[in-house]
Amino acid sequence: MKNGIYILALILFLFSCKKKEVGPQRLDGKAYYKEPGSKIVIGCEGNFGFGNASISLYNTETKTISNNVFNTQNNLPLGDVLQSSTLFNGYLYVVVNNSNKIEVIDTTNFISMGTITGLTSPRYFLGLSPTKGYVTDLYANAITIVNPSTFQITGSITVAAWTEELLFHNNKVYVTQKGTNQILVIDPMTDLITDSITVGREPNSLVIDAFQNLWVLCSGGINEAQPELVKINTSSNTVTSILSFNSIADSPNSLRIDTSRKTLFYLNNNLFKHSISANQIELTPYISSGNSIYYGLGISPFNNEIYLADAIDYIQPGKVYRYNASANIIETLSVGLIPQDFTFLEN
């Protein structure tokens, strides 16, 4: 019995030893790569409520991938869910939706320069001047006006519903207002809504083509309406053409445009290519996703290379497939959890 007591005491001693690790840990704490070369920032959503959003960085020249760059460089988790990242004045504005914040990151070293906090449920950031930026929001019923240099909230523009992607064109800001099926036109000098354009059900993304037309992709909601690709003339702010998708069950998203600004790309489970002169929706995928679905799309503004994100089972690190402009695969990358957003940095 004595032996038993000694062994018990030993076990208790072992258990009472202090340890260092608390909270989520990583096995592959890869260091940040400092080689020059154009880099692609891959925003990985992470799981809702898990605090595991991350940034992966891909060097197209050395073909090296660095995962978890934000955590490594800042020794801090990023939060969750990473919704979007936008390059503005040399800084990356990373919108972390469920963490209600925007991390402002220096793209030379990926150190956080500041955090915009106090947002309700931020989605996308658009930088307008060193002192003004707009942030769309899921629940706030407002576009938040922020100062990108001081990281302060400076005001808000009241809107009716959920706002998503936005862009600046011709001294106007065009905002997809998903909740009311509209494109809002805002004058960034006065922060007033000057016009609104009704489009299809649930507009989610938008681009400007070579002829100054605004293209808007509408998902159609969940079996609520036919998805649509809508063309808007930006001088008159009127809809000039509507192309309907084949099936009400489709849910197209992530509208992108190539460097010629004459070819559109979007996801509808698979990748589709659409010439701006085409007069109907393409039925054959440009790149097929097989069993899984593509969760994010990026088109390089330098060479039209195609980056497709696959989140696999959404609880494991995802994959990114790099294709050249002719849809030949170049490489498969292992990135962070739920890759979704691509930002292309210049050298």
């Binding site: 909270g23 605090g51 089972d313």
Partner: protein, 621 residues
């Protein structure tokens, strides 16, 4: 480190073999109760502690991994690598897993007003229901027919505003028994933690975490003759909770309200050659989740009418037949369903038991369930037990089992998938139990294979949808040892347990799926606990050390939560001058004795050291 602990536990076990004589009063293996598996399966029974929730009861009495989001917050178990939905919870013979979620939040499942709790692992759960791919937990109310007037009242206060009051009144004679119970529990759960997610490390108090529960129970038992017994059992529980956000995130002030009514009326007839039990039950469940910022106010309301017949027929001393018939009619309305969903679950279960020569016994059983909109497989099970030698017992079982998709899996709008197949499992175990007066050792090896494992994924149509995604193989070992030593007036008892769980994904419908051959998330490979109790006259001291090995938190096993090993210490002082008279006791518990900083679920802080004081009085007339 893990291996070392395992070895040490074995060493401890070896040291048990020398020297003790007296009797071991608490026996782990109990059987032959109508609601428990047959004579051939091993069942683990828990000693009820009034003041604990079911999650605490499991944590304090086994090495089963409890996935807790924090004090008073969601808690579920993972048994043998299976998930929370693959564990069935039964109340007085009826399954009470939420038909919409498929699981139970064990942090709000109270054990204050029940009399008996037990655990069936693996194949043995098919006796009571399908769906227990990991196992099932039974909660029961029962009584004997002694003449009594007994009032038990306890008051607990503790750190973070813990304030629990329990009153129980038991009245009865040879024919009638009544049990009235009242329990009110409250905690602020505003403990401090180190917020290491902020840029400047800071200590903050957990916010939005108040927990309140009120529970009422009234049971009547009537025994008109020696062979008949009638029982009416009712329980109403209402819980109001604030749900804290994860570390580093501003709270949206989320709240959850849970209301539940459980009731049953049962009749037992016990004759020499047969036993009949019939029971009908009504169950009501209401869940309301509110997040005002996100404009979510979701309500789920479920009414179920259940009934069963259970019969046992003894052909002779060594053969018996058991038959049970179950019916379950579920009416579920939810903010996420188009309409009220009606589901019927009917089941028939037949089991034949025979004791052969050489003390070898076996049971052979079949279960068949008919569930609305679903094709379910036949569930056969076979179990063997060999106890030729009094001290040694060998047992083994093999069964098929399935778990039906939940109502959310089937009908959630949008995304519900009515083409889902049930999760299909095959499982087996081989166990050995050694038991003498003052010690017991048990070791069980198990294996299970579950295909059609359900997981929700984005459908590409703008919403998520469940699919039959994986094939999961699990195997492992469960080891437990118990030893009692009596030295004059001091009784020392030691209980140790260790679980090894290897649970890996074997196949996937997805391309490039790196989770294949990897351990499932939030399933620790190693868990262990050791408990020492010393009783000297009216004073008892208890020490419990647990060890929960690290768990992976992504399916490709690249990120993990580190191990944690909180200990607790308990001091009890009982004053009871003589039997059947008034009793008083005072208990002090120190939880997380070494003030360990840890998290179970990523970025969900757990409290450091904290205290609980319990005063209990019992009046007998």
């Amino acid at each position: 480190m893990k291996g070392l602990i395992f070895l040490l536990l074995f060493a401890l076990n070896v040291s048990f073999k020398y020297g003790q004589q007296d009797t071991l009063p608490e026996v782990e293996v109990k059987a032959n109760k109508i609601n428990s598996p047959s004579l051939t399966y091993k069942v683990v029974t828990f000693k009820i502690d009034d003041n604990n929730s079911l999650s605490e009861l499991i944590q304090n009495n086994s090495a089963i991994y409890l996935k807790s989001y924090g004090l008073g917050n969601l808690a579920t178990v993972s048994i043998r690598g299976a998930n929370a939905s693959q564990t069935q919870l039964l109340w007085n013979g009826f399954t009470i897993n939420s038909p919409t979620l498929g699981q139970n939040d064990l942090s709000i499942a109270s054990t204050s007003l029940i009399d008996h709790a037990s655990l069936n692992l693996g194949a043995s759960s098919v006796v009571n229901s399908s769906g227990g791919l990991g196992g099932s937990i039974q909660l029961e109310n029962k009584t004997d027919f002694k003449k009594r007037v007994k009032l038990i009242a306890s008051q607990e206060i503790g750190s973070f505003g813990i304030n629990n009051s329990i009153v129980k009144l038991k009245l009865g004679n040879k024919k009638w028994q009544s049990f009235t119970g009242f329990a009110k529990k409250k905690a602020e759960n505003d403990f401090e933690y180190n917020d290491f997610l902020s840029k400047e490390p800071r200590i903050i108090k957990q916010a939005n975490a108040v927990y309140q529960q009120l529970e009422l129970a009234q049971n009547f038992y009537y025994k008109p003759s020696q062979n008949h017994q009638i029982g009416l059992k009712t329980n109403y529980t209402t819980t109001e909770r604030q749900l804290p956000s994860i570390m580093g995130i501003m709270s949206n002030g989320e709240q959850q309200f849970d209301d539940a009514i459980k009731s049953s009326l049962e009749w037992n007839l016990n004759k020499r050659n047969y036993f009949h039990q019939m029971s009908v039950g009504y169950f009501y469940d209401f869940l309301n989740y509110i997040d005002t910022i996100a404009a979510i106010d979701s309500k789920v309301r479920i009414n179920s009418f259940k009934g069963y017949y259970k019969g046992k027929y003894y052909f002779n001393d060594s053969t018996q037949l058991r038959l049970s018939l179950n019916t379950d009619r579920i009416f579920a309305s939810s903010s996420n369903f188009n309409e009220v969903k009606y589901q019927v679950r009917d089941a028939v279960f037949v089991e034949y038991y025979q004791l052969l020569k050489n003390s070898l016994s076996y049971t052979l059983s079949f279960r068949k369930e008919l569930i609305t909109d679903l094709k379910t497989p036949l569930v056969p099970a076979i179990a063997l037990k060999w106890n030729k030698w009094e001290k040694h017992q060998l047992f083994s079982s093999v069964a098929r089992n399935f778990r039906a998709p939940t109502l959310n899996d089937l009908y959630w709008n949008p995304g519900g998938n009515t083409d889902l197949n049930p999760e299909n499992g095959i499982m087996g175990e081989l166990g050995y139990q050694y038991q003498v007066n003052k010690m017991a050792i048990g070791i069980t090896a198990y294996y299970s294979f579950i295909n059609n494992w359900i997981q929700w994924l984005p459908s590409g149509k703008g919403y998520w949808s469940p699919v039959n995604l994986k094939e999961v193989e699990s195997y492992g070992v469960e080891f437990s040892a118990e030893k009692k030593v009596k030295l004059k007036e001091v009784t020392l008892s030691l209980i140790g347990s260790y679980n090894l769980v290897i649970a890996q994904n074997r196949a996937s419908i997805l391309e490039d799926d790196a989770s294949i051959t990897k351990q499932l998330i939030y399933v620790p490979r190693n868990t262990a606990s050791i408990q020492a109790n010393i009783i000297y006259r009216s004073i008892s001291l208890g020490y419990r050390q647990s060890y929960n090995g690290s768990v992976f938190i992504d399916a490709a096993n690249q990120t993990y939560m580190p191990y944690y090993a909180p200990a607790n210490f308990r001091f009890d002082w009982r004053i009871n001058k003589n039997e059947n008279k008034n009793k008083y006791s005072l208990g002090v518990t120190v939880e997380n004795l070494y003030n360990e900083e840890y998290q179970i679920v990523a970025n969900r802080p757990m409290p450091g050291r904290y205290f609980r004081l319990i005063l209990k009085v019992e009046f007998n007339k």
